[in-house]
Amino acid sequence: MTYLKSWEEFEKAAEKLYMQAPSKARYTMKYVHSKNLLSLKMTDDVVCLQFKTEIAQDVRKIDKFVNNLLRHIVSKEH
């Protein structure tokens, strides 16, 4: 699966994917220091969404997204 172009696109799609099947979706983040690259992946083993960035400012957005996701996962209602 190819990388999504923009962060907004990824965020929206990832959220939708999670909402479809909260217990199946998983989220992976990989940081490659030598390539100055941060790559994200959200998948439910059927659909796979990927996003990569080189920009430091994106970390803040990602952080917000992960916090949101964590909160959703541990909250009672799904």
């Binding site: 909260p22 983040m29 940081y31 100055n36 941060l38 803040r60 992960v66 964590l70 541990v74």
Partner: protein, 98 residues
């Protein structure tokens, strides 16, 4: 794989890492075969977080009460350690002000 308490997540600091977030229902064994009694349903929603650096692997389960603590630790970890990324310069806004 070592399962750590949330407090020990600061071990992550050492790592340029790959991390992994997955909803977790507290199950630690496979689902029983057909005909066997099913496993009890868990009451609490939890989250499994795993991190990998080369061959070292750590993991933790976040319970509801620990979310805030973990989030603070995780945020500062992200901000502090992903230091190879480029800083994007803001386009100058006051170029034609004068």
């Amino acid at each position: 794989m070592v399962l750590l308490e949330n407090d020990s997540v600061s071990v992550l600091d050492e790592f340029k890492l790959k991390s992994f977030v997955l909803p977790h229902d507290g199950r630690d064994r496979p689902t029983p075969r057909v005909g066997k009694p099913p496993l009890p349903e868990s009451q609490e929603h939890m989250c499994l977080v795993r991190a990998k650096f080369r061959s070292q692997k750590i993991a933790t389960v976040i319970h509801q009460r620990d979310v805030n603590k973990f989030q603070v630790a995780y945020s500062s970890l992200l901000k502090g350690n992903l230091d190879g990324l480029k800083k994007l310069k803001k386009p100058k806004t006051k170029t034609k002000a004068e």
